[in-house]
């Protein structure tokens, strides 16, 4: 099947496209506009990096996982697992602009400063809107990319272009679960006759993700809720059932009922079974405390999945880049529960939309579903 047709019929038409950008930046055929993946012209090749990298095209996920994480313990609910930490950036300035504890910005800055990586693929937004991928080589630039936009910009297009250039040889990637899966495919399942210099990817930091939102819908909502622009957008724990817009430069946070937001969820995200970015070296997300949201609001949970991830966290600890606190006994179970929740939604969606679970379904044998 033609690559462009394969992606269109199996991913875009089925509303499975996450907009990650893995198919872009490789050729003149694919591009995107405001979160929508666009095929400009048909490519007549029957295989291609676009469909090879797409996180929603058929893949033996278990085999991929074995290739990428040969030694790890795999938790059925969370994927490869070495350790779980509760941490935050030691630098209060990083924390100030961060979504939660600023651990990702701190780790990426460290990796760049130490030369572990020479470029970091990050996302930069304008007041949480119009996010775009950037390849950052200056450690001081990293913190400008802090914070979540709740959209999925096609940042992997920027990665693909950087890999094609082959100028940066040690690239770190930060991205949502769909992106970490695509990057894992790039590294461990390259196209036989064109590896796209995927060996230049050295570090992958995944971000916990519930879903991304439609760009236009979110923009309209943001402009309504924070007319002067939102400095920060966050979603408190589910019992609050809201999304919060903090206006840029201070002022009262506006809380919007989540029911206004849910229709804006990208359909593809409903079919995604990965909340914790199971194909990353490190996965980082917000922390939830049994003592209430405020307690751990400014902390991160970090799942260490690989040796590379472990070494980076150890380095951060030894350099005092990250501050740690004890992980409550209940944390891992809470995380598993949340992860399973997303997997269940995915299973339901896939059944509805694709008439079956297909290759995207999580390992059912391991999951106490329905």
């Amino acid at each position: 099947m033609l690559s462009s047709y394969a992606l269109d019929s199996q991913v875009i038409q089925k509303e499975l496209c996450t907009g990650c950008g893995a198919c872009q930046g490789l050729c003149p055929y694919w591009g995107s506009s405001r979160g929508r993946t666009i095929c400009y012209y048909d490519c007549e090749r029957s295989d291609g990096r676009c469909q090879h990298f797409c996180p929603r095209m058929p893949t033996d996920l278990a085999a991929l996982q074995k290739k990428a994480f040969p030694d790890e313990t795999v938790l059925p609910e969370l994927g490869p697992y070495r350790a779980l930490y509760l941490a935050r950036a030691a630098d209060p300035e990083i924390r100030g602009g961060a979504q939660h504890g600023g651990a990702v910005s701190a780790l990426v800055e460290l990796a760049l400063r130490e030369g572990l990586i020479d470029g970091a693929l990050l996302t930069r937004a304008k007041d949480t809107l119009d996010p775009a991928g950037v390849m950052v080589t200056d450690p001081d630039e990293v913190r400008r990319c802090s914070g979540s936009s709740f959209q999925i910009p096609p940042t992997l297009a920027v990665l693909n272009e950087a890999l094609r250039e082959d100028r940066l040889r040690r690239i770190g990637v930060v991205g949502t679960p769909c992106k970490t899966l695509a990057v894992c495919k790039m590294r461990y399942n390259p196209l036989p006759d064109n590896d796209n210099h995927a060996g230049n990817i050295r570090l992958v930091i995944g971000l916990f993700c519930g879903w991304g939102l439609d760009w236009d819908g979110l923009e309209a909502l943001t402009k309504r809720s924070a007319p002067s622009g939102a400095g920060h957008v966050d979603i408190p724990p589910s019992k609050y059932h809201s999304i919060e817009f903090a206006p840029r430069g201070g002022g009262e946070t506006v809380s919007v009922d989540l029911d206004e937001v849910l229709p804006l969820v990208r359909p593809a995200c409903r079919a995604c079974a990965d909340m914790t970015a199971e194909f990353a070296d490190l996965s980082v997300g917000g922390a939830r405390s049994a003592d209430g949201w405020e307690t751990d609001k400014k902390w991160n949970q970090i799942i260490v999945r690989s040796k590379t991830g472990e070494e980076l966290v150890a380095l951060a600890r030894s350099r005092g880049i990250l501050e740690f606190k004890d992980v409550p006994d209940t944390a891992l179970d809470k995380l598993k529960k949340a992860s399973l929740g997303k997997k269940r939604t995915a299973v339901r969606t896939l059944r509805e939309r694709c008439g079956g679970l297909g290759y995207l379904a999580p390992n059912e044998a391991l999951l106490p579903l329905d």
Binding site: L26, C27, P28, Y29, G31, S33, R36, I38, C39, Y40, Y41, C43, E44, R45, D47, G48, R49, R164, L191, D193, N194, D216
Partner: protein
């Protein structure tokens, strides 16, 4: 060839194209005025007239459109001028109102309208049979078969026009326009006809009470056509089998009868006076006939009219022709088609001859020329529209860019009507965007079309602020018909330099929001296009880049474009022959031995756009004047 147009050697035989013969005929008729808008197959006529106009003391004009041309001719007729107006079938349709009104008020100085039909629509969007216009407007129409007739009929038509104070239509078809044969020159008048001042009480006014006199004129013309020297008959005096032919059909029929050895047995009535039909002449040969074959292009015009005459006279005749399945319903007549129809009429056929083997021709779609700016425009439009949530609605128009409906323009548009219609189709759709149509509306026109018939539509769209984008593809030329001057070019048919009328200030004076860009500046222009699509209301985007054919005529040296095949990705992932397969310029070819791209140095004009598009940066551009 132009010397034959003005050579004053009566009796000399010259080889002439049909279009040249018309020019020569006009010169022999001593015309004072000629006007036309270019259209194949008769585009060359006014071009040649323009070149000899000064020498022969008449005025020639490439008019902004056919209506301007015809109405100018009607105006000059008032001053007793002999005027010739040259249009193609679609142009004649454009003039419909002027033609019908003009028929009612008639003319003073002779006015001949040369109209060329394009059977099979070789260089048209559609076939049309302009004989129906003569019938509809109650105007006399003549049709030549040979180049000699084409020349001779022009002075003849002028004489009729003046005698009956009526416009005369002279119908040509593609083969008559473009064929060549010997023409014996007639004498040239010493000078064009003398003009006469317009008398205070002279009137050329279209009013309803002129209807009856007009019909009476037509009756007189019918009587005159009974003796029209260009109607011919050959064959038995009382033919049982009769062929009635007009135009090319006559020559094909003569050939078929000769080959079948039936010349003496079958009657052949060739009609040059197509409207009004010489009924008595027709009846004379029809009355004994049992089988009649009609040979004509395009529609069964003679066939239906002869059937009516037969019916009126209670003849029992089997008619065969385009309307009766003996010949295809559409398209040109060919000697083979006519031979088959005549064979079936006479009940005898030629022995079959094995056709000589022929190399099969490759199927090839129409394409933009190498380096054509339209290719870049439609590449950018495709990309810009893909950025939209919903697919856009694109409306085409008439010009080279009509080929954008095919692969050359990535199947750009959904609708295309006649010349100048794009703005109006889009205007309507643009209004619907306020009523639930969630699509961007785009239309286009060339520079020549802009002047020809976009202006009133643009005024309408601007006044009603239709939500749409008009792209004016300004390539500084009426390229499709052969680079005739238009009001933007600063030159006239007679070679005078005049002040060009710029498109931008015209649009701005209307109050349109106007942007201008170069389609070869890919990124910038795509961004501009995308931005304009987001803006509400009427937008005009002028895309300026001269026609590649025009430029390659002017440039002395062209840049050398070549492919670094070591860098070229060929059909590999990341390219898949983007330059030759998608971009599709004839200059971008494929090296089958190496499986890499290659530039065809003959086709390439050196525009260098493919070098900007090559995903591997493998196309190099060196030196030369940039095309």
């Amino acid at each position: 060839m132009e010397w034959t147009m003005t050579l004053n050697e009566p009796g000399k035989v010259c080889l002439m194209q049909g279009n040249e013969a018309i020019v020569r005929g006009a010169v022999e008729a001593g015309i004072n005025f000629a006007a036309s808008y270019p259209g194949s197959p008769s585009s060359q006529i006014l071009g040649m007239l323009g070149k000899i106009a000064r020498e022969r003391g008449f005025y020639a004009q490439w008019a902004t459109n056919e209506v301007c041309a015809l109405e100018a001719c009607i105006g000059t007729s008032l001053a007793n001028a002999r005027s010739i107006c040259i249009v193609k079938q679609n142009g004649l349709l454009c003039t419909a109102d002027a033609l019908h009104c003009g028929a009612q008020h008639g003319v003073k100085g002779g006015l001949v309208i040369v109209t060329s039909d394009d059977p099979s629509a070789h260089s048209s969007t559609n076939e049309f049979d302009s004989r129906f216009m003569a019938m509809s407007a109650d105007l006399p129409m003549l049709e030549p078969t040979t180049m000699q007739e084409a020349k001779d009929m022009v002075p003849y038509a002028f004489e009729l026009s003046e005698q009956y104070r009526q416009m005369v239509l002279l119908r040509l078809t593609t083969r008559v326009c473009h064929g060549r044969s010997n023409v014996t020159l007639g004498p040239l008048p010493e000078k064009p006809r003398a003009l006469r001042k317009v008398d205070e009480w002279e009137r050329l006014v279209c009013v309803s009470y002129r209807h009856t006199p007009m019909l009476e004129t037509l009756d007189s013309l019918q009587e005159a056509f009974e003796a029209c020297p260009y109607n011919h008959y050959s064959g038995p005096g009382q033919p049982k089998k009769l062929i009635v032919a007009g135009g090319t059909g006559r020559l094909y029929a003569e050939e078929a009868l000769r080959r079948l050895g039936e010349t003496d047995k079958v009657g052949l009535l060739s009609l040059a006076s197509l409207w009004p039909l010489p009924e008595k002449l027709i009846v004379r040969y029809l009355q004994h006939a049992e089988d009649v074959l009609i040979l004509e292009e395009v529609d069964p015009f003679l066939e239906r009219n002869l059937q009516a005459i037969a019916g009126k006279n209670r003849f029992h005749i089997r008619f065969a022709g385009r309307g009766d399945g003996a010949l295809p319903r559409i398209g040109e007549l060919t000697p083979e088609l006519v031979l088959a129809a005549v064979s079936s009429l006479v009940g005898k056929s030629l022995p079959k001859r094995a056709a000589a083997p022929r190399e099969p021709l490759l199927e090839r779609e129409l394409n933009f020329c190498a380096g054509c700016p339209h290719r870049a425009t439609f590449h950018l439009l495709r990309r810009a529209l893909r950025h939209e949530k919903n697919p856009g609605v694109v409306i085409g128009d008439i010009g080279c860019y009509i080929m954008s409906s095919q692969e050359a323009g990535h199947y750009a548009y959904q609708a295309c009507n006649c010349m100048g219609s794009g703005i109006n189709l889009a205007e309507g759709l643009g209004q619907l965007t306020a009523y639930g149509l969630e699509q961007k509306v785009v239309t286009m026109c060339g520079d020549s079309t802009f002047y020809h018939s976009i202006l009133p539509g643009l005024i309408n769209a601007r006044y009603h602020d239709s939500n749409m984008l008009l792209m004016v593809l300004d390539n500084s030329a009426t390229a499709m018909t052969g680079f005739q001057p238009h009001p933007g070019t600063g030159i006239t048919a007679m070679g005078d330099s005049v002040a060009p009328m710029e498109i931008r200030p015209i649009c701005e004076a209307m109050g349109c929001k106007v942007a201008e860009a170069d389609p070869f500046e890919l990124e910038k222009t795509e961004a501009l296009m995308t931005e304009l699509l987001q803006e509400p209301g009427l937008k005009v985007l002028i895309l300026r880049q001269p026609c590649a054919t025009l430029k390659s005529k002017q440039q002395r040296t062209k840049p050398k474009v070549w492919v670094d095949q070591d860098k070229c990705l060929g059909d590999g992932c990341g390219c898949d022959k983007f330059c030759s397969r998608v971009w599709g310029c004839p200059g971008n070819s494929w090296d089958f031995t190496k499986n890499k791209a290659v530039i065809d140095p003959v086709s390439c004009v050196g525009c260098g756009v493919c070098a900007k598009l090559c995903p591997a940066g493998a196309i190099m551009v060196e030196g030369g004047e940039k095309a």
